[in-house]
Amino acid sequence: MYGGDFDGNAAFAGGGFMPSQATTQAHESSSSLKNRDVRTLLPLTLKQLSSASTTGESNFSIDGVDIKTVVIVGRISRMENRITQVDFVVDDGTGWVDCVRWCHARQETEEMEAVKLGMYVRLHGHLKIFQGKRSVNVFSVRPVTDFNEIVHHFTECMYVHMYNTKLRGGSITQDTATPRPQMPYSTMPTPAKPYQTGPSNQFPNQFNDSMHGVKQTVLNYLNQPMHIVSEAGVHCDIIARELRIPLLQVKEALEQLSNDGCIYSTLDETCFKSTANA
């Protein structure tokens, strides 16, 4: 179809497209190295955002996934214009968050002028701690014009939460074969994806909130093919050493995963195996 419309070779001969392609190359190389460094765009409710775990000023995670850019849909409940920025508060019914939009260019100023107090908006931004409080450094604010978008946003938050907590880790059983083309929306990650997870260096201040992340990491480790085929399973000391997680946390996670039915003990109470393909 495009062969008739466009002579690809001629266009490439003219250059111009190549630098972008080179950028693509660099990006793809980095994206295949570490899954957790992939830049995601997470839809979040404000309750999810306020309860996300943190290990520093700009490092947040939820459901075992790092938070990079967030998508928020809510109503502007307070708004204050300053010389270089607009400070406002967004409330979506589950919580609220402070937002700041820096206005250096005219387009940014014009975008904020279209936004009014009480208006529903969709915003993209980066979550950080500012003056001791969580706040979003906003990249973009757009008024909501189709109010189905509000319902859609909440549904998608539920869906992504379910995807990251259940499908990504717990449903490898359904997807041990190589995924076919034409996979549906709920396509499982490829088997290669879970065990590309790098070791977690988190040392969370809030122990209970972070346990889910540790559990997910441990489960992903045990779901690797070489551990699934192993009859004896994996010893908890090996898990702790490989993942660089304190042994106490690993044992806690293993106990919870065993209670959930995701793993089971094998030779003794210190060796575990995933129930996938069991």
């Binding site: 466009f6 111009g16 765009l41 850019t69 975008e111 499908l167 034409q182 929306y185």
Partner: protein
Amino acid sequence: MENSVTQDGIATVLANQSLDSSSVRPEIVVQVVDLKPAGNRYTFSANDGKMKIKAMLPATLTSDIISGKIQNLGLIRLLEYTVNDIPGKSEEKYMLITKCEAVASALDSEIKAEIKASTGIMLKPKHEFVAKSASQIINEQRGNAAPAARMAMTRRVHPLVSLNPYQGSWTIKVRVTNKGVMRTYKNARGEGCVFNVELTDEEGTQIQATMFNAAARKFYDRFEMGKVYYISRGSLKLANKQFKTVQNDYEMTLNENSEVEEASNEEMFTPETKFNFVPIDELGTYVNQKDLIDVIGVVQSVSPTMSIRRKNDNEMIPKRDITLADETKKTVVVSLWNDLATGIGQELLDMADNHPVIAIKSLKVGAFQGVSLSTISRSNVVINPNSPEATKLKSWYDAEGKETSMSAIGSGMSSSANNGSRSMYSDRVFLSHITSNPSLGEEKPVFFSTRAYISFIKPDQTMWYRACKTCNKKVTEAMDSGYWCESCQKKDQECSLRYIMAVKVSDSTGETWLSAFNDEAEKIIGCTADDLNDLKSEEGEVNEFQTKLKEATWSSHLFRISVSQQEYNSEKRQRITVRGVSPIDFAAETRLLLQDISKNKTSQ
């Protein structure tokens, strides 16, 4: 006297329509005139000096004719015969002779009677008339019974299932349930014409009958859709699997000697359509095979009518997609074409909320979206059929099916046929499905749909090329002025700009770069490349070019993408190209998410 025909013999024959061995035998001697062969028999005119009648001798007497025992212009005595009407000519009759004997060899000429008026002759015929009257009454009584019995014997009907090529003569009684068009052909053996009909008997068995050349011309107007016929003297052979259309091991060929007679008193005979249903979850094995299959299912949704342009003759054809589900908890999309789309398809649209059961005969199985079904010209759709399968299916649906989450047989996800852009939903993926599989698209390009935000458009990339206004190919600046198109081999004073650009997109699982060409890029940016170039060239405080790019950033779209491999500096890399861009339908997207959430809850 010894060598003379019976006076008024033909009249006697006409008065006594049949004669067999048990009859009282009047003396009937006739002269054979115009004797000639017809097939394996001989026909002649029987002459009594006053009247003639067409007659036919049985094949068993051919040897007598050849040996000269029976001669043209000779005399024969009739022993057994039957008189029939000639079809289509109600005034003419002909005589079928079963048994006769030779009386005399050829005479000098055809006999012509002369009537002489005399008193003696007048008295004699009167007496004979009285005697014949008595014989006549008896013969008429016998004659009335004989034809009916003979007719019953002739009309003994064979069921289609009992036919085989090694059988002798047979007669079938069938309804024409499909009639093809007359087609002409040309092959090594010359030109000809052919058509076929689909015949169904009282038991519902079907067979296809084919007619060539003379037989095709003879019977094409004879056969009418829906009418019932007696057919005999056709030939049978094993059905050609390549062209198999009805479920029968044999197919029939009729030639010009075959007998086809309409049964005009058979209007009430309606053959039952016989189905051979395939469950929806077993359709995969029939994909792209030549078999036509039957399907029964509960209607889940009915799409509006669409018009599809046919490639070979550029004609617009109506089409309608319906989604069926059955007890296997799988759904399949059936495309109704032509009259089925506009006629019965409209009925289905009106009653879709009642979820009727429909049975469809003769569907073609295709691989579009994994598995799909299409009607053809011979397909037949029955709404809420009276059959055990339909009753059982309806019970299942009312008790259990309406609450069950179905999945499309082709993709593992329910089709959303009610949505206008069905293809944008049935193969939806996250970006990570592509980026986590670097070898995807290696063998051949694969296509997906995905929903994502545009997270970055690099302002300083070269976004467009100069294109020929006629063929859209790249042009080069000419030495003096204007632009040269290598493809059109001509120079033009003007050119247009066309997009070729890269955009970065993100979703909840990752991000990647997409390549977009002119049509798709215009939907992303919101203006043409020429317009954007004009904005870029403007000087001054305001930079509308940057504004345009920023407005496009952080917008969300539904993308149709293809993934393929591309070699660059002897290294293979994935290339993701935008093939279509659609705005987001948030209501449809929400329904899709809820479907998936429900399905995953069910599978726990």
